[in-house]
Symmetry: C2
Amino acid sequence: MDQAKPSVLVGQSGPCEPKYSDTAIRILDAAEGLFVELGMEATSLRLITQQAGVNLAAVNYHFRSKDALFEAVFLRRFGPWATQCLEELDALEKRGAAGEEPLTAEAVVMSYVRPALALSKDPARGGAMFVRLFSRVLVENHRQLRETMSRQYGDLVTRYTRALGRALPGLSEEEVEWRMHLGFSVMFHAFAGNDILKVFGRSAVSARDPDLIVKHMVPFVLAGLRSPSADRPPGS
Amino acid sequence: MDQAKPSVLVGQSGPCEPKYSDTAIRILDAAEGLFVELGMEATSLRLITQQAGVNLAAVNYHFRSKDALFEAVFLRRFGPWATQCLEELDALEKRGAAGEEPLTAEAVVMSYVRPALALSKDPARGGAMFVRLFSRVLVENHRQLRETMSRQYGDLVTRYTRALGRALPGLSEEEVEWRMHLGFSVMFHAFAGNDILKVFGRSAVSARDPDLIVKHMVPFVLAGLRSPSADRPPGS
DNA sequence: GTCTATACCGTGATAGAC
DNA sequence: GTCTATCACGGTATAGAC
């Protein structure tokens, strides 16, 4: 059968690692750095292709559009992270079911922090690029990407909600979701270095050292997750 | 004296409320909604001016550039918020110094949450626009805006750091800054509705109701702020 | 199948007429 | 103060070379 285009190569079921040609990889690498540095909108395709040493039209051939390129750049890093998270979560639940180790909130949090930390420290896999890209995705409205995420990785959220619910008994499902939302937010923006104090030019915090981030962020998040239920005030 | 241009009207000392002409206000109103809805880069000046019923070149006359327009849109909402925060903080410190009411972390947090909440519920002053704009400013790189923020509102951060440090004795200044950074981040992204679960299409959380946000977010943040120091593990 | 050159239209910005 | 004309640059689409 004649496939008209290589297109975006999003597999139809579950995470898959698309095979990219050499030029496509050169485009991805160049785009990644520029997207993170300048932002998605501020980086032109002409700059990307120039830095990658390929022709302008190659972007629209290998990827469909600039938006689709952004999606590909993001998913190339997101896929491995999600896979590692699921592996850690599998191991965690197995140990929990076997009674070897109770399912704690700390273990759940570390099961997604550890892969992010590993990624942040590995320049070969984009380093901190991934979390910074993710923090942009959170704020910007990438409709196409969100559809893909929902289709391919929706179960990741479902599984984390269930795991966190077990680790934090006595909370309604709504409260568990709220805390996951807050905890995830903190992690990604912390890793991404989106520091409010920096906006005011007063950041003494060296928010770029991943280990330092974990040291301060994880206890903060854990305390928030474990706080007493807001639905049932202590005096009830 | 002949002033060549109205320019951006950023006062040279402290927050000031620039007086805008009617057309400038029409531009600001139209731009605000579109920036929040579509993002800064995705909204064209032609769309803004069309919706505002003014000529295209009016933007570059009343404001200097599209970037400067964004800055004006943002500061129009940020100014009142910062003013209210400082007033609340003044009152707080006065009551603390008089011994009427101890300076607690909760009081400090509420002194900036309350003005944000009030803004979020007041459509006449932009409603939730301000926090959503702010969350974009945190992630995007608006160099010009950051200079203005540092110059005009740098002391706001300094004062909050000091107040929070007093409310949380036993923490190093570095830890206080980290927690402020984390706590502020949570608040703005929570108010802005930047929900990670939404990216996965699984958000059962109605993250748009300001009161609901406060109900879940404030206890979460407070627990994080009050958590024991990460510098001194419990066994030391 | 892969890559290239080129043309198209919308964008932000500016100069100059009124 | 306002408007028109014009500019360089952006993403995109396509025809055609290899």
